[in-house]
Subunit: 201 residues, 2 copies
Amino acid sequence: MGKYHHGDVRNVLLEKAETILTKEGPTGLSLRRLARMTGVSEAAPYRHFDGKDGILAAVAIAAFERFADQLEAVADTIANHEERIMKLGAAYVGFAVEHPQHFRLIFGRERPPLDQYPELREAADNAFDVLQRAVTSVDRKANMTLTEAATAYNRALAAWSRAHGIAMLVIDGMIVPPADQDLGSFVLGLLEEDLNAPLNA
Amino acid sequence: MGKYHHGDVRNVLLEKAETILTKEGPTGLSLRRLARMTGVSEAAPYRHFDGKDGILAAVAIAAFERFADQLEAVADTIANHEERIMKLGAAYVGFAVEHPQHFRLIFGRERPPLDQYPELREAADNAFDVLQRAVTSVDRKANMTLTEAATAYNRALAAWSRAHGIAMLVIDGMIVPPADQDLGSFVLGLLEEDLNAPLNA
DNA sequence: GCTTTAATGTTAACAAAGTTAACATAAGAA
DNA sequence: TTCTTATGTTAACTTTGTTAACATTAAAGC
């Protein structure tokens, strides 16, 4: 007389997985525990997901999508090129700080291999496309020379890696943002820092 | 008649752990497998290390030291301030690319908590001191105003996070360095990229 | 030299996790 | 209604981290 077919196990599992991940990270997410917490047998998740990686992939896809949406929302509202790059970087770090576990999931090594989950690869590519478009969009509509295009691409990489480095080091606790300052402006300050300028600017 | 006391189990374990880590990363390092490969009982490692975290900590400490040495070697040979910062960044990324698993270990979440391993914390702090000194050393010997000192500090953070971001994205395969170019000059290019400069420089 | 003690090994057990196989039941198609 | 498929369940198997109980060796104290 077991409650076979509750109807929505897959979604419930996903939501609970989401909750656990937020609190304890990918390592703390155990399939068995997840199943118990969902009130379903310990093997049930295997009917809906391709094992643990399958669930992680599903969560990662959702995370990538939210990430991309958040970046796009910022990028779309800012017309000025330089300002857009900077604010985008701040938003990038902002997402990492607000959702450190999700950020770690989509960039860390517990992320399932992109090759094995085409939708995951798609979600990842889409997020990076948003970034790249935002960084190079203004230049794209002008007719660029080959070297200009190359520079634009490199600049996107540079902007991306700067934001990424700050994000990683901050959520790792290696860089501690000053308490008396807004996180966004702190990040902007770091992004704009010119390593070659004289100290007494 | 068992071969009790082979004499050097601790070091052999560490070396084998090192080997496994290089090939398979922290996740692939299983204590039991390590013990078997070392030809010792599966509980033996616990006599020499504080469980799995203990071994990871030991390996991480060694990794931090090599990392710091490598950075210091570069920093010490370059007198020019700007050049030193840049080459240091390239060395930072170089280490990550040469030893991705070690880099991941010392920066990822499988690194044992610094609080629980004072020597690990020390090794980490030392590595970052090397970085910070190299980035701010020239300025340090001048008598700086408070704001100059703050700028110097921020600049160190900016340099660090830039290198870190490139390193992370490269070893994650999200940024693929061009095959026709030396990795070092690729990194230097990214580090020097001025996001605000016009495209046709 | 002999005895005691601490260090170092060993085996055996436990719990937790990922995964799969074998079986049960419900829902929908034929 | 019957057959097939999707979805659940239980029970097993393997691996892993860890600890307890016991064995042996080396070193220290007498």
